[in-house]
Symmetry: C2
Subunit: 120 residues, 2 copies
DNA sequence: CAGCGATAGTACCCAATGGGAACTATAGGC
DNA sequence: GCCTATAGTTCCCATTGGGTACTATCGCTG
């Protein structure tokens, strides 16, 4: 396909379906991604700790979310060869930077929740 | 159920599964919601115009997205009784405010897209 | 030495959602 | 009488989301 070849010539915009920005927005504009990255702002954490903080997340979905973030270079996954297993997740520099807009979003929601008609 | 009654006593956090913040985050942390609200920042627009700006969106999904935003008080939907039909979508004050964190997220993605390994 | 517990998942299954193509109603213009 | 334009809706299917149950491993306990 010719689409993958000269993407760099295109203006980068999340509004263009073929732009990689679209995929990144899809990754970050996601409930569990936003929560997982926010939790990792406090420092490296184990799978079980993340699962406890992200109330309501199932282990499968948490694994999917973390793997996707890892694949895109937002989190690191370190496996310690111990028994029982220990795996620590942490933010990469890119992940730390991505946390800022996501933190804005989370705090905006919490500060403005009263204004939403559905929540009254 | 007792959960709806004294929600206001709970600390508001997107990390609590039962908090209404969680639903709002789910609404806003969504690709199409973020794009639709961003498009409406330029002023009221018709369905067809939004469909053209949000490249790749199907009419069904766009309708779903806009209805959901309308139900939560983020956008207004005005129907003009004309033929062919004309429907204009616009931001409510709450929707305008919600645009700020979403705009940060969109621009952060566009400005940092080169740093993502998957896009190289 | 046979269970038991702890951790980080995976396997399996089902429901919800995402998403596309085709269809609808209406009135003006040709 | 037919074509066009608009804002959807309907139907269908593939993908994803999501929950529950299960697994592997080793130290510890009885």
């Amino acid at each position: 396909m010719t689409t993958t070849a000269h993407v760099c010539d295109d203006p980068k915009s999340v509004y263009l379906a073929a732009c990689p920005c679209r995929d990144m927005l899809d990754l970050l504009a996601n409930k569990w991604s936003a929560l997982a990255l926010g939790a990792l702002e406090d420092g490296p954490q184990r799978f079980g700790a993340l699962r406890a903080r992200l109330q309501g997340v199932s282990p499968k979905v948490l694994t999917q979310t973390l793997r996707r973030l890892e694949d895109h270079g937002l989190v690191d996954r370190e496996i310690y060869p111990e028994v029982p297993p220990r795996v620590e997740y942490s933010l990469t520099p890119l992940g730390e930077d991505a946390c800022r807009p996501l933190a804005h979003l989370r705090t905006w929601v919490e500060e403005n929740i009263e204004r939403f008609p559905a929540s009254r």
